[in-house]
Amino acid sequence: MDYYVPYNRPSNPAGCGMQQFPVGMGYVPWQTWGQTYPLDRAFKAGTIFPDLDYAFHYGRCRS
């Protein structure tokens, strides 16, 4: 099976248009350039991209 890489695909909302991708493979929506943080905030957040600035919720799996 060819190694399918959705190169140059516009990032579409999660789940939308994902049907044509084979099952069993992980997919990451394609990032597009957007707003960036001011330098000091970016340095603290660890990213210049607000899109990638996720809160870190640690904890055990809740069964």
Partner: protein
């Protein structure tokens, strides 16, 4: 580590180097996968210029930041800062 006024501004000047350098690194990561993105390229060049200015500003006041940036022809100024074991880590 004594915080003389001059030393303190070296700390903030170095912080500028860190912040601008970080922005350059993050832009590079994006450009690796989006090599023709105009906005990303513009951001990279802007951040890179800010980084160069920050390094220059730091070095003018606080001495060489990299071993390859020693300009003094009479003395190896790289050793002027306190060594790490002398509390030199900023």
């Amino acid at each position: 580590m004594n915080q003389t006024p001059n030393n303190l501004s070296c700390h903030s000047l170095l912080n500028q180097v860190y912040q601008t350098g970080f922005a350059v690194d993050d832009a590079i990561l994006f450009l690796d996968t989006h090599p023709s993105d105009p906005a990303a390229l513009a951001y990279y060049h802007q951040a890179h210029a800010l980084y160069n200015n920050a390094v220059q500003a730091y070095e003018m006041q606080c001495g060489p930041l990299f071993m390859t940036d020693v300009n003094d022809r009479n003395y190896w100024t790289w050793i002027n800062d306190p060594w790490p074991w002398e509390g030199g880590c900023v």
